[in-house]
Symmetry: C2
Subunit: 494 residues, 2 copies
Amino acid sequence: MTFRAMKPMDGTPFGDEIAEHSQNDVTQMIQKAASVANELAKLSPADHAKLLRTIGVHIESAREQLVATACAETALAEGRIGGEITRTTVQFNRFAELVETGEHLKVAIDKANPDYSPAPRPDIRKLNQPLGVVAIFAASNFPLAFSVAGGDAASAIAAGNAVVAKAHPSHPNTCAIIERCVKGALKECGISENAFSIVQGVSPQITHWLALDPLIQAIGFTGSEIVGRILVDLAASREVPIPVFAEMGSLNPLFITNSAIAERSEALAKGLVDSALMGSGQFCTKPGLVFVPDDAQFMSTIKTYLATLAVAPLLSKSIADRFSSAIAELAKISGVEVLSGTASSQGFGVTPTFFITDWKTAQANPHLLEEHFGPTTVIIKSAQDNFGAIAQSLGGQLTSTIQGTDSDSVAELIAILSQKSGRVIWNGFPTGVAVTAAMTHGGPWPSSSTHTTSVGVDAIYRFMRPVSYQGLPQSALPVALQDANPWKVPQQIN
Amino acid sequence: MTFRAMKPMDGTPFGDEIAEHSQNDVTQMIQKAASVANELAKLSPADHAKLLRTIGVHIESAREQLVATACAETALAEGRIGGEITRTTVQFNRFAELVETGEHLKVAIDKANPDYSPAPRPDIRKLNQPLGVVAIFAASNFPLAFSVAGGDAASAIAAGNAVVAKAHPSHPNTCAIIERCVKGALKECGISENAFSIVQGVSPQITHWLALDPLIQAIGFTGSEIVGRILVDLAASREVPIPVFAEMGSLNPLFITNSAIAERSEALAKGLVDSALMGSGQFCTKPGLVFVPDDAQFMSTIKTYLATLAVAPLLSKSIADRFSSAIAELAKISGVEVLSGTASSQGFGVTPTFFITDWKTAQANPHLLEEHFGPTTVIIKSAQDNFGAIAQSLGGQLTSTIQGTDSDSVAELIAILSQKSGRVIWNGFPTGVAVTAAMTHGGPWPSSSTHTTSVGVDAIYRFMRPVSYQGLPQSALPVALQDANPWKVPQQIN
């Protein structure tokens, strides 16, 4: 079976026919990856860092081709794709900086101590080791930064794992270029190219083949709650269950206080519209739910500003179709005001659409409180006094935001939101996720399936596990645990 | 409904009738815990450390009563119970030392930087926060160190969570004393006693009530693979799945090389018997599977030494019954030699029983390759050349051990075992788990359900999650994230 990419801009096919991988292909890929996983696991910090940087160099050198291909396959703007390429290489470089130090190995050495309490202890030494082969599922909405060699794959490779990555069928040619880049870097560094492969295809069965293969040790996923749940269930159903690090849905609620509205109603309205329409509303951190005191100027600014704006076509026909039918359903709810932007009839184009309603209507119509991927937001008129109770009723979120002023007492609201979210934002908008040590991209279910982050260097620890060695002679210890410490990794001793 | 503890020594009841908690009781306990969880979460490092140490002091002050009660309920020796009490307080004290430093909060502060690559970044600050209410399931085999205030509960409380712990029905009176100790310490420290409660009962439904309550945020469990799997499945079936940190079964394979046998056959035989019978064979790190070259002296030493030994009665009637029927089944397998220790007819007494067979018979009879809780071990005669292939075929293990000499080339075997195990041991026996930074007590499924350790200070991170704060004014930030840093916690800045 073959399939072709589609251009969202005009709905026509793009690139050559692509052969879908068979179950046997997938099994072979995984077996080959497993048979060479130890080549990655054995790399010295310096060689490992060199590999990560070399991947970045190969991706950078394909920039022109990547921009042309990804823009055609996603309808995302050139500037956005260029930024994503940079972000992708930066991710590899940040991991290279970490891996080079050996800090991620978290070496701890407790030497033998006959006087230790509560009992004498033997020589015990611990370090983090990679898992083996990790399956990565590419996201649709970041064709580079969260795709086959995006944050999840970079984390897994930086942790020393081999990777088999499922290409997203909405940007398969972009994924194929990236595969060549990574394999090229592996080859240049003297490591088998089988350590990284991508699976192409549209069949939902591919997910099962990957998730259920006994050689797969962990799964990284960025996508919808529905697919994330399928993966979590598949992984739990295995004879040997494996962890699934899924980053899924989030409403990213935004609370606007009375004093903020009084101070900067117009700026807030425009800021909200811009944030919600960024990337055609296809960001996992899109503000999808806004709680705001009823303010005529705020609502009117939204209405007039939105009316002037169109967005680029959505990433795929199925995303555009789901968006349009969700919007049509929400518009039918009585007690909901519908605000429209400028329609686009190009390819997979849609009409940006906001909704204004009240909390009572939203509670009675749960669809209003679900994530709708694309350029839409539900604005709920509500008194500031209710923010605490509303926040308490929400599920897990990647982000929660408060727009207020110094005069607001929001300590309790912040405390509630911090229990519901991975990131709490004050006087900002949630779109934009800095690649930095202090970033958490993840949060309580359903925003993610584990208490980890998928952005920032801490993401590496998802794909490692601690192993202790007791009483081994120096020569039999992993290099990082030896007293001579030839790699000069940080060793926490006794 | 009520139930009573039993004395394994003579099979008679011990202590008063104990009322089983109802579903409503359990729900109430969890709700009360949730309503006071923030009291723990808000403690300063100094106050938090004080609470942990005070729990230790209260447990220590109940030592006499605990020894008498636990010895009666478990038939474990006074010295062992005394050691466990010490270990339990040491665990709290070690966590107190960590919590006092604030290091576990893993504070990272990235100040705003307009020149940051790949994009300007706002002020972002991250710390680890507790989850809320954690459910802990006490182990049968460590009535203190892994029971209601054992390693899992200590980890969860040290992380700042409220705890509802299921008492093990084989030592309910011991658990009740511990509950009074912890509640007493909470009260002394000015924290609501509802932050820690225990659930008493024998009904399997209690597991469901705890695991499915929407206010429970994570589960800690030490016990069998069967119950661990039930918990993992229940947690995954929830509308909001939660993590289960289960420490389950392990065979703890032991490989003995030709040169080791040639050098110290008798010491190895006696060491193996002693390790396998320690605590009546009821250790999760009991060596349950031994691969050894066929050596007449080794086998004969095992046989004569074992014949002289009896063990204390097992922890409960159900454990003793399961053991005896498993032993009877294994003894029926053709090609298996049965070695017996001294029978005990006291209470829940059993006969220590070892088996000697070959790899072919073991492969044809999978029961020989399963964990059998109690004083038994399966010795498999096998050539050293086969150790690598055998190791490759085994499932996940808490520990794997090699007994060899300097002349052995075991690098490859160590590498294989490190992929299968949480701890690799050279020239030792696996029983005995030091409470130390470099310890890993956990390993690939089924030995544990996640890539974490349940012993040592790193166990705390199972019950925390990272939360980032973006752009917040100093006064609205959690104390540990403020520039003034009044708690003087380690802050990794930029």
